[in-house]
Symmetry: C2
Subunit: 285 residues, 2 copies
């Protein structure tokens, strides 16, 4: 068996054309261009590539993307005050925080400070609570990208044995909620899981985001399973995911590569959420 | 092997003594008695017993418990307006809604309308989001009761293979979050799960809340496992849970009975949350 390999760039391009068309119409009706602001603290090198890709995508669909950059030593409260000003600024339709933050900045405080109506990343507790309770509105981008792949590929979710290797608040937990909301059976594994293979080898759908290259070998995969690789690791040989691609591609039925799989969709989902916050802002003003 | 049988009434009594002592001190310092209001719509017979038990518990620890009862035909907006008045009333420290509501009342709208600072049940999206993201404050009572049992019995959670049979927003999903926040490996099963036994028979900790009597037989249980029964079903023979108690007690290592297991703790957790909302109210005024 050879797996169908997902072409994330092609699917992202298609979706982004649709988003661009929607923005043209919205802009025409509202006489305003959607504008988002990203708050950047310090100079994390890994963030640059992602920021650049996202800015390019914004430009292509017609969203103005602004940056507010602060030195890594800026007191937390000064940055929080800036976020509060962005919250109240009607010309800013969406706000993103570039994570990771320097150690003196508390991510949960930042997530709570962003106006939930402008929360492109879906990390505000009220948006996480909505995702969690099935009243999904602004859903975190990586989980939403995974869900979009599964649904666009028509991979059945109801009753599917699904394993997620990641239990973070930004990936694993919201993804578990999205899948439970669609009646999948969901197991969430992580570094403290005693016997990972026992879980993964029974999974109809395996989503992995550990950041450990080659964590998932062919032995971990049920024949014909759908395997979605959310891992992104910079190695001397280039960017790689969690999955030993060369062997797993001969066992899985569907597989997303890294790069070119989930990543482009994650950026597209940020655009989708930007359109949502823009529409909400237009309804409110 | 014979399982240790959990005595929920005894543990609840101990915890309630501690809560009563805390309330005596708080009352002395604040010159105000904690007061909660339960909004009741219609006349669901199953609710009566629970309400009566909770009111008795409130009385025993020194909390004033009031009811606002509406006929089942009351328009939703009239009840929501009443909730908004309770939200703004400084003499009301906590608000509970008695579920299930009649069909014309939307539970999610009710959950969203309660002031999150007075949300004794922890169902407001912002409180669910906090539970979900590990910033736990007002946690739904049944999941909190299960966690309290596990921690008070010193059952190790980190890395434990844990199975939850229930994927609702009020039990299964918040419980999954609480356990993931403590690094358990968590599988969430439900009516659409293909092979329930494959999951449950590998579980170190099995928590079941399906409402199906005898769903969990000895075959479903790993020898020595901790089994927590959240099911409550009224049968001709009396109240029962999900677990075939007579056989499972000879296979499990720890087992909670129904009645007298999780139930008394659930009421105690409501009291715990009432104390939290009361303290918050005192800090704010």
């Amino acid at each position: 068996m050879t797996a169908t390999i997902f072409n994330g760039r092609a699917v992202a391009t298609l979706l982004q054309h649709a988003i661009a068309d929607e923005i043209t119409t919205l802009q025409h009706n509202n006489h305003t261009t959607p504008a988002i602001t990203t708050v950047i603290v310090g100079d994390d090198p890994a963030s640059h590539l992602y920021l650049k890709l996202r800015d390019t995508a914004c430009q292509q669909v017609g969203i103005h993307s602004h940056h507010r950059s602060f030195p890594a030593t800026t007191p937390e409260k000064d940055i929080l005050n800036e976020i509060k000003q962005l919250n109240d600024d009607p010309t800013v339709h969406g706000i993103l925080i570039q994570y990771p933050l320097p150690p003196h900045c508390r991510p949960q405080t930042f997530m709570r400070t962003v106006n939930p109506d402008k929360d492109v990343e879906g990390f505000h507790p009220i948006n996480l609570g909505r995702t969690f309770s099935g009243d999904e509105f602004l859903v975190p981008c990586t989980p939403l990208a995974v869900l979009t792949i599964l649904t666009s590929e028509k991979i059945p979710l109801k009753g599917a044995d699904t394993v997620i290797v990641n239990h973070s608040t930004v990936v694993g937990k919201p993804l578990a909620a999205l899948l439970l909301n669609r009646d999948a059976t969901v197991s969430v594994c992580h570094i403290f899981t005693k016997d990972l293979k026992r879980y993964t080898s029974n999974a109809d759908i395996l989503i992995t985001g550990s950041g450990v290259p080659n964590l998932i070998t062919a032995d971990h995969v049920k024949p014909g399973a759908s395997v979605i690789d959310v891992g992104i690791v910079q190695t001397p040989k280039g960017i790689t995911g969690d999955v030993a691609f060369d062997t797993v591609q001969h066992k899985a039925g569907f597989l997303t590569p890294v790069p070119g799989g989930v990543g482009p969709l994650t950026i597209t989902m940020a655009l989708t959420n930007m359109v949502k916050t823009y529409k909400l802002s237009m309804e409110q003003h």
